[in-house]
């Protein structure tokens, strides 16, 4: 590296440093703003007359689909079967099973500590019973949470779908639209992904397939205007659900997250909207899922997670930390290609699938 460049780099770094100092100001401001701002979307009201619940209890398909993965799963817990005592190796294999399921180091050690306590209280001495206890522990962690999707009592309902690139936002919207239509709600898709080539085409294909309306703009158009038009159109037609497909974006891209905030603000022009902001997470995602959830939640107030592509062998264990640490409930899971493969999240099934 030439001395000039070294100098330039240093200067660059110091400007950065200056920006960091400025942060002090920015941070305190933001904290203020957060305090002033009205709390993001209404805290889930348990099934009142107006806010009806979208998710009809689906058939327990997850477990059906888990057959393929049994073999893979038993690999890590295989060490447990046939064991008589709970020794270090037993604990190790449980730990490994959790880690392999992408539960993450921190959550795994928390679960194990709690499990040790529970095992001692219950005087469990059979390794296989440990797994049962652990499942129960996870179910306890995830219970008592409202996982329904909320509709507006009157006027259009607006659901925003956000997430990083390639998690399955568009496909999720298609499936959900079909379910809404079958449930007697009109569905309108807003193609607010004006960035990815042919994203609006993809959504339009789906809309035609499932019989939903679609509102789209030009490629490169302002996504906010698409949302505005869509909500407007839905209002004109006497309500229904507006499903807003936003462009996939890295949660680390400041400008793109700003764009998303703007989309939300436009949706907010309709009182009560958006009723849901759903973060779509791919089940193959590792620990970065937590960073994604944190950033999207801070930017646009995520109300729920949709965990997609659970029909593979990935377990999506990171949602455990997302739900427990960040308090964002998992609302739906995707277990296949068909519309009926988008089903409500069931903690018991999830826990079972983590190490079936």
């Amino acid at each position: 590296m030439s001395p000039t460049l070294a100098a330039v780099l240093l200067i660059g770094i110091f400007v950065l440093a200056a920006a960091l100092i400025w942060l002090g100001l920015g941070l305190s401001r933001r904290a203020q703003r957060l305090e002033e701002a009205p709390p993001p979307p209404e805290p889930a009201e348990p099934a009142e007359p107006g806010g009806d619940v979208a998710a009809p209890p689906g058939p327990p398909r997850l477990r059906d689909r888990m057959g393929k993965t049994r073999a893979a799963l038993s690999r890590s817990l295989g060490a447990l079967t046939g064991r008589r005592t709970i020794d270090d190796e037993a604990w190790d294999s449980i730990e490994e099973a959790l880690l392999v399921a992408d539960v993450g180091v921190t959550t795994t050690s928390r679960l194990l500590d709690e499990l040790r306590a529970r095992a001692a209280t219950a005087r469990v001495d059979d390794p296989e019973q440990l797994v049962t206890l652990l499942r129960q522990e996870i179910v306890d962690d995830l219970s008592g949470i409202d996982r329904s999707l909320h509709h507006a009592p009157d006027g259009p309902t607006v659901w925003l779908f956000v997430g990083v690139n390639g998690t399955g936002k568009t496909t999720t919207i298609a499936k959900l639209a079909q379910r809404e239509i079958e449930g007697g709600h009109a569905a309108l898709m807003a193609a607010a992904d004006t960035f990815r080539a042919a994203a609006a085409d993809q959504l339009t294909h789906w809309a035609e397939r499932v019989g939903a309306d679609v509102v789209r703009g030009q490629e490169g158009a302002d996504p906010g205007s698409v949302v505005f038009d869509a909500v407007d159109a839905a209002g004109g037609r006497g309500a229904g659900v507006v499903l807003v497909d936003t462009a996939g974006r890295m949660h680390t891209k400041v400008n793109l997250m700003e764009e998303l905030k703007k989309i939300r603000r436009i949706a907010e022009r309709t009182p009560g909207a958006p009723q849901e902001v759903l973060l779509v997470i791919d089940s193959t995602t590792g620990q970065n899922g937590l960073a994604q959830a944190r950033q999207f939640a801070e930017a646009v107030g995520v109300t729920g997670v949709v965990l997609t592509k659970l029909d593979g062998t990935a377990k999506g264990g990171v949602v455990l930390a997302i739900e427990v640490d960040l308090g964002i409930p998992v609302k739906l899971i995707g277990v296949g290609e068909a519309a009926e493969d988008l089903v409500p999240f069931d903690p018991a099934e999830f826990a079972a699938a983590l190490f079936a």
Partner: protein
């Protein structure tokens, strides 16, 4: 965010000072920390095990160099081992002696195959080749359309036909012959590695067109599953290399290590952003630093090189040496730095930053305010801010849509920057102030 691995070791090594050799017990203790670091970076559990064993082997009894602390010594060993594992063979596409060369991309849904195909094509064009993009993803609605649009943007022809993927691939070779394209890039549909039917289709395509390079496209955010995916695809179609996508986020990218360990073939390219030229050869050393949370100075320097032009840099250096640094320069530098990408990413790449700074949420809009304030000043005020009195302050605040407190704050911060700059000019490395509240 993740603390640098060095921080984790601090506690362990405080006890070790003054010893010349690492004992087995020390190594074990350190190994546990490394294990956690690697797991948090999403390296597969099994891969972590074998990797740790290799590191232990090397670290056990390793002479502790005088210049390094034991912690640094172990980190160095881990880093070297990571680089060796990630690198190995040099990453280059195999080109057929008899054109067209066929490159087939495969992977899970949403891993970024279509975008990678477009980026690879552009990369090849820059290399003087004549690629043909082939849309063999007839599954996902509008996938063909997506590739066509990408092709248009980079001026590379796109071939497809509404038959079936195997036929499309075969017809594409003829099309390449006919139109004189020398590299064929096959974009296949995303598929689950446990989907026997679709994996069979991939095998049939491979058998028919015999690709010179079969590349697995892997999302850098992938967790433990990376190993299963790599294993299954390698078994089915025999992989020649890997493209790692979406490394522009803050994922630590342990998947890279997992996949490399399973496939044993090089990671050739990395997708680094939204734009079609955000695509570069894979750098094992950088990835190693990233997995360990050691910052990424090299990338930072490269970005600086790209963003700053030589002349401006020279000018800035001269001024800096003289100890002159005005608000105008400040504005210039700020704009240059912003060209390097989102601040959050840059800060993430800077090694040795205090944890508070790394963890701080950078609010880029603040920079816009600074800019607005400086732009609302007269040239004289920018050169010599001491002339700014009450009425000028009010004018500046009005002009920039901020308050006089903001202007005051900005000027105060700038003074500190000036001081830092002066100490840089004197050849001292000033301490980075921690953002105050």
């Amino acid at each position: 965010m993740f603390d640098a691995l060095a921080d984790r070791f601090d506690g362990i090594f405080k006890r070790l000072r003054g010893r010349g050799r690492l004992s087995d017990k020390d190594v074990d203790e350190v190994a546990r920390e490394i294990r956690v670091a690697l797991l948090e970076a999403d390296v597969n559990v099994t891969v972590v095990k074998s990797f740790i064993n290799r590191v232990k082997e090397r670290a056990r009894g390793a002479e502790v160099a005088k210049s390094l602390s034991p912690a640094q010594q172990v980190i160095k060993i881990v880093h070297e081992e990571l680089v060796t594992t990630l690198g190995g063979e040099t990453g280059k596409l195999a080109m057929s002696s008899k054109p067209p060369t066929v490159v087939m991309l495969a992977g899970l849904q949403g891993s970024g195959k279509t975008t990678a195909a477009g980026k690879l094509a552009r990369h090849l064009v820059a290399d003087g080749r004549k690629p043909l993009l082939v849309a063999a993803d007839l599954q996902r609605p509008a996938a063909v359309e997506q590739l066509r649009v990408l092709g248009q943007r980079i001026d590379v022809p796109v071939f497809s036909e509404p038959t079936d993927p195997v036929k499309v691939a075969r017809a594409a070779l003829k099309e390449a012959d006919r139109t004189g394209r020398n590299v064929v890039i096959l974009d296949t549909a995303g598929r689950l590695q446990i989907d026997d039917e679709l994996m069979g289709e991939l095998r049939r395509i491979r058998a028919k067109v015999e690709p010179d390079d079969t590349l697995l496209v892997v999302d850098a955010m992938t967790g433990q599953e990376a190993v299963n995916v790599a294993e299954a695809f390698d078994e089915a179609v025999g992989l020649d290399g890997v493209i790692l996508t979406k490394i522009d986020g803050d994922a630590r990218g342990g998947a890279a290590l997992s996949v490399k360990e399973v496939v044993g073939k090089p990671i050739l390219f990395a997708g680094t952003g939204e734009k079609l030229d955000d695509f570069e050869p894979f750098h094992p050393d950088r990835m190693a630093s990233r997995i360990l949370g050691m910052g990424d100075m090299l990338t930072l320097i490269e970005k600086a090189e790209a963003a700053f032009d030589e002349e401006e840099a020279a000018k800035a250096e001269k001024k800096l040496r003289k100890g002159q640094f005005t608000l105008e320069d400040f504005l210039d530098q700020m704009q240059q730095v912003r060209k390097m990408g989102p601040l959050q990413n840059l800060v993430g790449m800077m090694p040795g930053l205090p944890k508070e700074a790394r963890d701080a949420e950078l609010d880029e809009s603040q920079l816009g305010r600074i800019e607005a304030i400086i732009r609302s000043m007269t040239p004289e005020e920018r050169r010599n801010p001491t002339v700014i009195n009450g009425s000028r302050r009010l004018r500046i605040a009005r002009g920039s849509g901020t308050s006089t407190q903001d202007v005051n704050g900005m000027l105060k911060q700038f003074k500190m920057v000036q001081q830092m700059m002066r100490s840089v000019a004197k050849g001292k490395m000033p301490r980075l102030p921690v953002p105050g509240r």
